[in-house]
C-alpha cells in the first residue's frame, strides 16, 4: 500500500515537469509585451483596361495578441487606395457582399463596378490544440493516461476584406482606412500579410484587376 502511495505522489511531479517543458518550448512564459513594430510599406500602382489603382501611405503596426502565448498576433493596418476608372454607368442592386469563393479574390459586383480592399493573411503552420492532456481517473483499478499531442497542419491563407466601394460612374474614387485590427490566432509558424485591391469593371467587356502590396511579417 505504501508503495502505491509513493507512485501516486511522484506522477503529478512528472506531469508538471512535462507541462513546463511544453510551455517553455512554445514560449508561453514570456508574457511581457514586446514593443510594437511599425512597418512602413511601399506605394503600389497597376493599370488595366480602363482602370488605374494606386496604393499610398500603407503602414502596419504589429503587436502581440492579448492571448500572450506566442501563437497569436495582432496587426493594425492603415492605407489609402485611389482608383481612376472608366466605366459604364451602373445601378447598384441589393447585395450581401462577396462569398469569398476560392479564385474570386474576395471580390464581387452587384450591378455596378466595384473596388474591394483587404488583406491576404497567411500562416505557415496551424496549431490544433496543443498541450498535455491529462486524464486521471480513480477507480478500483487506478489508471493514468497521459497524452501529449500537438496536431500540426499546413497553415491557411485567408482573404480578409477591409472595405469596398461601389463605383457607379467614371471618375476617381478613394478608399481610406486607419488602424484596422487584424488578428491571427493559433499560428505556430511565421505569419505574414499583404494588401490586395481589386477593381471590377462591369459591362460587355468585363475587367478585373488586382493590385498587391508588399508582404510583411506579422511575427
Amino acid at each position: 500500500m505504501s508503495k502505491f502511495q509513493v507512485i501516486g505522489r511522484r506522477r503529478p511531479v512528472h506531469l508538471a515537469f512535462m507541462a513546463v517543458a511544453t510551455m517553455l518550448a512554445i514560449g508561453i512564459w514570456s508574457p511581457q509585451a514586446a514593443a510594437d513594430a511599425f512597418v512602413r510599406l511601399p506605394n503600389g500602382h497597376i493599370e488595366g483596361p480602363g482602370v488605374k489603382i494606386t496604393s499610398t501611405g500603407e503602414r502596419a503596426i504589429i503587436s502581440p495578441s492579448l492571448a500572450a502565448n506566442g501563437a497569436g498576433r495582432t496587426s493594425w493596418v492603415s492605407g489609402n487606395v485611389t482608383v481612376d476608372i472608366d466605366t459604364p454607368n451602373g445601378v447598384v442592386g441589393p447585395n450581401n457582399g462577396a462569398q469569398n469563393n476560392a479564385g474570386t479574390d474576395d471580390s464581387s459586383t452587384h450591378g455596378s463596378s466595384g473596388l474591394t480592399v483587404g488583406y491576404l493573411v497567411g500562416c505557415q503552420v496551424a496549431l490544433g490544440s496543443f498541450g498535455p492532456s491529462l486524464g486521471m481517473s480513480l477507480s478500483a483499478t487506478p489508471t493514468v493516461a497521459v497524452g501529449l499531442s500537438f496536431p500540426i497542419s499546413p497553415g491557411q491563407v485567408v482573404w480578409y476584406q477591409i472595405d469596398n466601394k461601389d463605383m457607379t460612374k467614371s471618375g476617381r474614387y478613394y478608399l481610406n482606412y486607419q488602424d484596422v485590427p487584424m488578428d491571427v490566432q493559433g499560428c505556430g509558424g511565421f505569419a505574414q500579410a499583404r494588401q490586395f485591391s481589386v477593381v471590377e469593371v462591369v459591362g460587355a467587356d468585363y475587367h478585373k484587376v488586382t493590385l498587391y502590396g508588399q508582404p510583411f511579417s506579422i511575427g
Partner: protein, 230 residues
C-alpha cells in the same frame, strides 16, 4: 522510470524538430523571385444549329508563380492574367445573349491535411498479486501520424456576381450576362492557390460560354494549356 520517460519525451521533441526542418519552416526569409509563364491561350469556333457562328478565344494568357503567404513548400500560389472574348455572327447575332464563366481547374497530387505527432503513454493498472502491489511494466503506445490523401482537381471560378433572383432572394452568378453579339472578360493577377499540397500541383484556364439566340441555346468551352504551379 523517470529516465525512460524523459528519453521518450526527448525523442518526441526531436521528431517535432525534424518534421519542422523537413518542411522547411525555419526559412521564412527570402521570398522566391516570381516566375513568369507565358501561355498559348486557345480559341474555338462553332456553328450552332441555327447557323449562328460563335468564336470563343482565350488571349494574352499568362501566369506568375508567386510565393504563397503560407511560405512553406506545401503552399502554391499563382497569379493569372488573360482575356476571354466571345463574338457571335450569323442569323442569331441580333438576338444573342452571352454568359462567360471563366475559371481555373487547380489540381494537386497529394493532399497533406494534417501533420501531427501524438504520443500516448498509457500505464497499465497496477496488478494485485498475493497481497502485494506490483506496478506493471508501463506499455508505451506511440503514434506518429501524417495524414496524406490523394489530392483533387478543383474547379474554381473567377467571378462572383450578386443579383436578386426572381423572388428577390440572394443569388450569386459566376458570369456577367451580356445581351448582344460581343462579350469579354479580362483579368489581371487573379490569385489561385493550394494550401497543403505535398506533390505536384498544376492549373489550367477555361471558360464556359453560354450563348443563347432566339432559336438556340448552347454551351461552348475553351481551354488553355495546363501549367505547373511550381
Amino acid at each position: 522510470m523517470m529516465r525512460s520517460k524523459s528519453v521518450r519525451r526527448g525523442r518526441a521533441i526531436g521528431l517535432a524538430a525534424a518534421v519542422t526542418v523537413g518542411l522547411g519552416l525555419f526559412s521564412p526569409g527570402a521570398a522566391n523571385a516570381d516566375t513568369f509563364i507565358p501561355l498559348p491561350g486557345g480559341s474555338i469556333t462553332r456553328t450552332l444549329g441555327d447557323g449562328t457562328v460563335v468564336h470563343l478565344s482565350l488571349v494574352n494568357e499568362s501566369a506568375k508563380i508567386s510565393g504563397s503567404l503560407g511560405a512553406t513548400p506545401l503552399h502554391r500560389n499563382v497569379w493569372t492574367s488573360a482575356r476571354v472574348i466571345a463574338d457571335v455572327s450569323g442569323p442569331g447575332a441580333s438576338s444573342a445573349g452571352i454568359q462567360l464563366n471563366p475559371g481555373y481547374v487547380v489540381g494537386c497530387q497529394v493532399n497533406l491535411a494534417s501533420l501531427g505527432t501524438s504520443e500516448q503513454d498509457s500505464e497499465a493498472a497496477p496488478t494485485v498479486s498475493g497481497g502485494a502491489i506490483t506496478p506493471a511494466v508501463p506499455t508505451i503506445g506511440t503514434t506518429e501520424t501524417l495524414t496524406v490523401a490523394p489530392g483533387q482537381a478543383v474547379t474554381k471560378y473567377l467571378l462572383d456576381i450578386e443579383q436578386p433572383d426572381d423572388y428577390g432572394n440572394e443569388s450569386h452568378k459566376k458570369h456577367p450576362t451580356v445581351n448582344g453579339p460581343h462579350a469579354s472578360v479580362s483579368w489581371t493577377d487573379e490569385t489561385f492557390a493550394v494550401d497543403g499540397c505535398a506533390g505536384y500541383a498544376q492549373a489550367r484556364a477555361f471558360t464556359f460560354a453560354d450563348v443563347s439566340t432566339s432559336a438556340g441555346e448552347s454551351i461552348i468551352s475553351v481551354w488553355g494549356a495546363p501549367f505547373s504551379m511550381g
